[in-house]
């Protein structure tokens, strides 16, 4: 088969992290690299410590793994901020506003750049807490996919991240399709 079955209904977590790696992030070089990188996605370098530089996340991670830079975490990847966020998330019925690729970005940085994240353990726990809290809300949201929904025709899921959407996508899309069949909305549309 041209496309493995696992890839048909949604993007895989690996693919989503791959997409997140296209984002730009600030680094502080720890070793000078005199070469300029004339990449297809732009020109980067030369890198001269301690001058900050913006590079794609994948490049930042390559540099990081070779001990050539430290990564400046995004402002929201911060223990204090995330603690407040977790509280807000728990208090709110809907999803609070987060960067579209927050979870995948956090995963990547937590995996490969822990020493650049102050209060790393706390940050990791808050991320986990926020993820679970939002995950529970998402699962609970499945009950909104009802026959009545079809007089409206859509379900609004603002503020969910790319990773979060793809986690619920197979169930939600299937439920939506099945409800559509029951509601008869599809039959009238086909006229």
């Amino acid at each position: 088969m041209a496309l493995p079955k696992a890839l048909r209904s949604s993007l895989t977590p690996q693919e989503i992290e791959f997409i997140a790696e296209n984002q730009q992030i600030t680094i502080v070089p720890t070793r000078a690299i005199n070469d300029k990188f004339e990449l297809l996605s732009g020109e980067f370098g030369p890198f001269r410590p301690p001058l900050k530089s913006k590079v794609p996340l994948w490049l930042a991670l390559l540099l990081k793994r070779k001990g050539k830079c430290t990564i400046v975490p995004p402002v929201w990847l911060d223990a204090e901020y995330l603690e407040a966020k977790l509280e807000e998330e728990r208090a709110s019925a809907g999803f609070t506003e987060m960067p579209f690729m927050w979870l995948e970005t956090a995963n990547l940085l937590v995996k490969d750049a822990q020493d650049d994240i102050p209060h790393y353990e706390q940050v990791r726990n808050y991320i986990k807490g926020i993820k679970e809290c939002r995950g529970n809300k998402a699962v609970a949201g499945l009950k909104f996919i009802t026959i009545d929904l079809f007089s409206q025709g859509f379900l609004n899921l603002d503020n969910l991240g790319l990773m979060e959407v793809n986690e619920i996508k197979p169930f939600f899309a299937k439920a939506f399709d099945e409800m559509g069949k029951f509601s008869g909305a599809l039959a009238t549309d086909k006229q």
Binding site: Q24, N34, L40, L62, P73, W76, F172
Partner: protein, 210 residues
Amino acid sequence: MLANTDTHDTTDTTDTDDIQLLTQAWINERGAPEILAFEGQVIDRLLELLRAQEEHVEELSNDDANDIDFVRSVYLHEADRVKFVLQSYLRTRLFKIEQKTLAILKSPEYQACLSESELAYAQRFNQIVQETYEKSFLLDSLPPSLQSMDDPNIVGAPDLNQAVFFRTKVDFGDHLLPNGETLDLSKNKIYLLRYNTIKALLKNGAIELI
């Protein structure tokens, strides 16, 4: 997705380059139930860039002997990333072509969405399937009235009612749905709804499938 993620510190490049266009096309293709227009020009440009890049990497001087391997590996890594997206994009399309061969070959619009080699693949694939069916059961076991492959149930058109998730890329104002409801399409809204109600919006680039 690439152009407007609001991640405060992690911002994206503002100009839309071909890598972004291809990545977007790949993600949309993965999310859409039907085959979308082939991004031939983007791919041609990227392949040309990749070729030039390869030459450039070979010519990289050895001024800085410590870093040359690393510098090379960065170029190769980027090339691999582009090739990965390209491969997944083409495979996703081949999958759709194999699944919906007849529907595609019967529709001039779908045919216009294919590249030359995809069209050739679809025709050849169809020919092989047809021959196999004829040899194995079609002509021997079925009465002539049931031998036609034109029946809509056999053609199996893509299910355009399939539910998809999408996100608005730009402020697009209110959008009227066929059922009279309005959809608020300001930037970064996320919805789950049926593909054919938003098909036109996808085509004009106002939204991305996610």
